[in-house]
Amino acid sequence: MRTIKEINARIKKGVAVVVTAEEIIDLVQKKGVKKAAQEVDVVTTGTFGPMCSSGAYFNIGHSRPRIKIGGGTCRLNDVPVYTGFAAVDIYLGATAIPDDDPRNKVFPGEFKYGGAHVIQEIVAGKDIRLEATAYGTDCYPRKKLETLVNIKDLNEAVLFNIRNCYQNYNVAVNLSDKIIYTYMGALKPKLGNANYCSAGQLSPLLKDPYYKTIGIGTKIFLGGGIGYVAWQGTQHNPTVKRKDNGIPQAPAGTLAVIGDLKQMRQEFLVGTSMLGYGVTLTVGIGVPIPVLDEEILKYAAAKDEEIYAQVVDYSQAYPQMVPGSLTEVNYAQLKSGKIKVEGKEIPTGNLSSYSKAREIAEELKSWIKKGDFLLTESQAALPGAESGYTFKLLKERPIV
């Protein structure tokens, strides 16, 4: 029906019709898939949720005299970073915490500050304390470095998430008789609450369930700036059960994403503390879906009522790897504020912010409409539903 080239030409002329993944639902209801597909060029999606597999790498520039941090140690605001690269390249993971954090010794630990918070502060333009030690070589003689660094002085500051944008996720509940603290939040005993984590009908991979347009090289909104899909994310699992509408009923695809941290904004990269669990980074992502044909539009118009997630017990089943779920519910039920599990009505809470997801989809829409954001052709497809690519459990083998 139309190509990405044609859509880009329309974007440049300022005549492209761009709607959000929420707006397309109403439009399809009013006009039908055929008519809507003729009218709309791009559907924008958005999501804003915590994802531990986030991080950023930096090249801090060479000091005088030179130091080789590779193989040494390095801390940013007391948070340890990975130094196993060359002389002045370091990688900061979202979940890293200072050595003197009490962790879960005083249970449940608060995890007030970690890598994710450092990333948010770097993006906010704050000065960050860097302390490094090295063993010293003939070419890199320095053994110790203590300095303030600022994002504007770093060579590269790049957000690189090896997994984000989960295509659907579990709804977490607690069947036990005491409160538990998980990455899905605090879960009150005996089905006291149910926490979920997805923007549902706004979420990128739920609107392109078979990865027909989102692939390697897709240009996206990342943390308030521009980024790209670099690869399938870790734990990519496209072969899970799907409903007739093609939408996975359980955690499925993921994206590895990359982008220039210097363009990003702190309101879309938020340091997050999960009581009793740890630190993580909440990342805002928006993905444009080009309406190349009616089928793509039909998928993009899926609504909360048609998207299902599995309710999983996080007191036993999840930690012990017991397969199966208690029941499944759709996102309209989750968003109503309560769901029914085992005959009991329980209140729901979302870890991912729907209002922020909406803001992201709107902002991406305005970028495209203004001509500031052109779409890219993906360079290779993500492994799809028929690929046989699956998420495997660890096969433990004794070391002899």
Partner: protein
């Protein structure tokens, strides 16, 4: 008839005195203790829902103040740092009084501080730590 939720700060010297009893006996007030911290070394803190006839209520408050109890309306107790809140909604099922509630249309989370009983359940579970305690 007045009914208010208030925070009482007791200086150390008052901690072992039957002050609340007096409110009932002498001023005919009803109370519901929502929370109390009374540690021997520090000052005591009590969150109270207090109700009674207007004149007696005011007399009761005067009595507390004359004893050296500091009184603070409850809404100042737990506050939300609006710049930090991401409107996720994970606090909503945790809050026992509905002080944190999601607007079904905007999907933003509202904080109705008049409903807050300062139980502090939300304070540590809020992922960006937007809920803050102020004494």
């Amino acid at each position: 008839m007045i009914s208010k939720r208030i925070v009482l700060h007791f200086p150390h010297r008052l901690v072992d005195q039957p002050i609340i009893c007096k409110l009932v006996k002498d001023y005919d007030l009803q109370f519901n203790i929502l929370k109390a911290y009374v540690t021997p070394q520090e000052e005591g803190l009590m969150v109270l829902e207090l109700s009674g006839e207007d004149a007696k209520f005011n007399k009761g408050i005067e009595y507390l103040q004359s004893k050296g109890v500091k009184i603070q309306p409850l809404s100042q107790d737990v506050i939300r740092n609006e710049a930090k809140c991401t409107d996720c909604g994970v606090c909503v099922p945790i809050c026992p009084t509905g002080a944190l509630a999601i607007d079904p249309l905007t999907r933003k989370v509202h904080f109705y501080d008049n409903k807050c009983i300062a139980c502090e359940l939300c304070v540590k579970i809020c992922p960006p730590r937007a809920m803050e305690v102020r004494f």
